[in-house]
């Protein structure tokens, strides 16, 4: 297995493109650059050019899945080397990588990030007889530590068949040697914001899907482990839990994107009550197809004051991070140019600044380290937590990498499955 490490997401993408021939149009520059990139790809694309036949895991793993349901994805992968595909073989692959067979007919877009990654593993294994190797970007970033063995199983299968495995990681990114990584410290403690989360047995129901094929309805009920109706927390709060347990769904409930079918969730924070604001795992999508500055201008089109505040917050966060990397040119380069914002990091800072400017009670960062090197991710979260602390905004981090945020978080909650439909939230 060859491992390549990069300081910036953009360098990782460039490497991936050069290695696989798959172009990923840039999304942070706005529509002009996007269409130019797509046009360039279309003009230079040569379907007959012989690339090394390999299976890919993209930085955003959902992009490597071209079909809408796991059943289709795996059936297509298996059909590359076999004319008859047995459904039991598909179920077997899902189970091999720790995914329940019920997931076979669930739409890919409704799977969690970790489940999508595991589905990519299953697809890679299904394609093993047909390909010469595997090119994977950040292959375990969205996995819980107890799932790292799934990646090891996949690599072992490729090794056994003498296929190459090429991995592109970001510096300091978790990998199978994560457990041996040093303890992290922060020089100055991050200010704490005390707030209360109320849970009145919220239930989220996912309706059955009837076409093109059937997928049964399902539900998740969130409860506190001690049976109480509220929990006192000190921000920054870290939320952990296994893949597919419902962390991102919980974040969407907190931010009002998903309305519980029964029960309720209540936030009581220094900035008031109401819904949290959320930065998604794949934050680039939240630019809504606009450039970083274009999005900020669009959101604050009717509110000059907040736009000014958001721009000030952006400058403060940007300066806070840059100051700490004064002597580290690689990190400074990875942060991108100050004159033209275009990196994933700058997109995240901008989206965070926009949300802090609205004085939200709680800001949820879902897997904030995705697409960032460890040092930059830590500095981003630390700087955001300090700025948010000054504004009395509580921060919630949803992450599989508790070690990344050591010395930074004041409370930690763990989500665990109890029975088929209940998720228990416990303070660790």
């Amino acid at each position: 297995m060859k491992i390549h490490r990069f300081n910036a997401f953009e360098s990782q993408i460039s490497y991936f493109t050069s290695r696989t021939g798959v172009h990923l149009p840039r999304m942070t520059f706005g529509k002009g650059v996007f269409f130019k990139d797509l046009g360039r790809w279309s003009n230079t694309y040569d379907g007959q050019a012989r690339q090394t036949e390999s299976v890919h895991i993209l930085p955003d793993p959902v992009q490597g899945l071209s079909f809408p349901r796991p059943l289709d994805v795996l059936s297509s992968a298996l059909s590359l080397s076999s004319r008859m595909v047995d459904t039991e073989e598909i179920y077997g692959l899902l189970e091999y990588f720790g995914l329940p067979v019920e997931k076979a007919t669930q739409p890919v877009i409704s799977l969690s990030g970790g489940e999508i990654l595991l589905l990519n593993f299953a697809k890679a294994k299904a394609m093993l007889p047909f390909v010469e190797g595997l090119v994977a970007c950040s292959p375990i970033h969205w996995l819980n530590e107890n799932r790292y063995s799934q990646w090891e199983k996949l690599v072992e299968a490729f090794d056994k068949k003498k296929r190459f495995v090429d991995v592109a990681l970001l510096e300091g990114e978790p990998f199978i040697d994560e457990k041996s990584v040093r303890q992290e410290t922060v020089l100055q403690p991050v200010p704490a914001v005390t707030w209360q989360l109320g849970l009145d047995d919220p239930v989220v129901v996912f309706e059955e899907i009837r076409f093109p094929s059937y997928h049964p309805a399902s539900r998740i009920e969130y409860k506190l482990d001690d049976g109480s109706r509220s929990i006192n927390l000190e921000s920054p709060v870290l939320i952990t839990g296994d893949n597919g347990v419902g962390k991102s769904i919980f974040a969407k409930v907190l931010s009002g994107i998903i309305k519980p079918s029964g029960g309720s969730v209540a936030i009581n924070a220094p900035n008031g009550s109401g819904h949290a604001r959320l930065i998604f795992q794949d934050a680039i999508d939240q630019l809504f197809g606009k450039s970083i500055d274009g999005h900020m201008d669009w959101v604050f089109r009717f509110d000059e004051d907040k736009r000014r505040i958001a721009k000030d917050i952006y400058a403060e966060l940007d300066a806070g991070i840059r100051n700490d990397f004064q002597d580290r040119t690689e990190e400074l380069e990875a942060m991108g140019s100050q004159s033209r914002k275009c990196t994933l990091l700058q997109a995240k800072i901008s989206l965070i600044a926009e949300r802090l400017a609205t004085r939200t009670p709680v800001l949820v960062l879902d897997e904030p380290g995705w697409g960032l090197s460890r040092s930059i991710a830590r500095k981003l979260v630390e700087t955001v937590s300090r700025t948010a602390g000054k504004m009395h905004v509580a921060i919630v981090l949803i992450s599989h990498h508790a070690r990344w945020w050591q010395g930074m978080v004041h409370s930690r909650c763990h989500l665990s499955q109890e029975g088929k439909h209940t998720v228990v939230i416990g303070k660790v």
């Binding site: 696989t20 798959v22 172009h23 990923l24 149009p25 529509k31 996007f34 797509l38 790809w41 694309y45 379907g47 036949e53 890919h56 993209l58 490597g64 071209s66 079909f67 809408p68 289709d72 297509s76 059909s79 590359l80 080397s81 179920y91 067979v101 019920e102 007919t105 890919v108 877009i109 047909f130 309706e207 899907i209 009837r210 076409f211 093109p212 094929s213 059937y214 997928h215 049964p216 931010s255 009002g256 994107i257 819904h275 604001r277 959320l278 998604f280 999508d285 939240q286 809504f288 606009k290 669009w298 959101v299 089109r301 009717f302 509110d303 000059e304 004051d305 907040k306 736009r307 609205t358």
Partner: protein, 248 residues
């Protein structure tokens, strides 16, 4: 296994195709709606406009019933929500534009213009849910597999069409994701979250038009960009399937 047996309960693709074509027949050919309108007029009880509206409302109910049975009540409501918003936006903007620029409706009477806008509105609220049902009723994967096993000149064209079909399907997934992002940004959906700057009234007549136009513009481009984003990866996937099934 429950999911396995349920999968086998679905119609064969050709039967679905025929049923959906029959359902869409009035849209493609105007028959039998035109014939029914004529019969209603001949009774002398209805004007041509009332007959038109009555028949098309009845047809809309038939389409919605099929969507309800196939996709369930939640999907039907979601499709209808999108269709009514789009239909009303087009009809209202159409009326405003025709008022501002009368040459757009040159040669048409006032009633004929209004009636035309009503027809456009009906077409949107009927054929948007129908189109979504149609596109999502078939498996792009199976279509690509079938085409990849063809020989001859139709193979390449077929693969392009199958890919285009999958891209259309992907639009639905993109809208679902964008809707979540939009809801996070604008919880009230049609009202800007940040509208409280002193002295600024976003709902002032000029500004509200700017806001609506900017929303339509943002949605159109976001849908296009996010739909097109995975095309290179999808093309690579289809090419791989193509290579795995060499022509005889």
């Amino acid at each position: 296994m429950e999911t396995h047996t349920e999968n086998k309960r679905t119609f064969p693709w050709w039967l679905k195709f025929v049923l959906l074509l029959v359902l869409g027949l009035p849209g493609f050919s105007g028959w039998p709606n035109g014939w029914l309108i004529q019969r209603l007029q001949e009774t002398g009880l209805f004007t041509v406009e009332i007959a038109h509206i009555g028949v098309w409302v009845f047809y809309a109910c038939c389409v919605w019933l099929v969507v309800l049975v196939s996709a369930g009540p939640h999907k039907l409501l979601a499709y209808l929500g999108a269709a009514f918003i789009l239909g009303l936006t087009v009809a209202i903007l159409g009326a405003v534009m025709r008022g501002l620029f009368p040459f757009l409706a040159a040669g048409m009477g006032r009633d004929a213009t209004s009636f035309k806008l009503i027809r456009i509105f009906f077409n949107i609220i009927i054929f948007l849910p129908y189109s979504i049902l149609f596109i999502n009723s078939f498996s792009a994967k199976k279509l690509i597999d079938r085409v990849a096993r063809l020989d001859g000149r139709y193979r390449t064209a077929g693969l392009h069409l199958a890919l285009a079909f999958r891209v259309f399907q992907h639009t639905g997934e993109v809208v679902f994701n964008l809707f979540q992002i939009w809801t996070e940004e604008y919880p009230e959906k049609i009202i800007p979250r940040n509208s409280g700057s002193p002295g600024v009234r976003w709902y002032a007549p000029g500004k509200i038009l700017v806001w609506i136009w900017a929303c339509i513009h943002a949605w159109i481009f976001a849908c296009i960009i996010h739909t097109f984003e995975p095309i290179p990866a999808m093309v690579a996937e289809v090419e791989r399937i193509n290579r795995a099934n060499p022509e005889a």
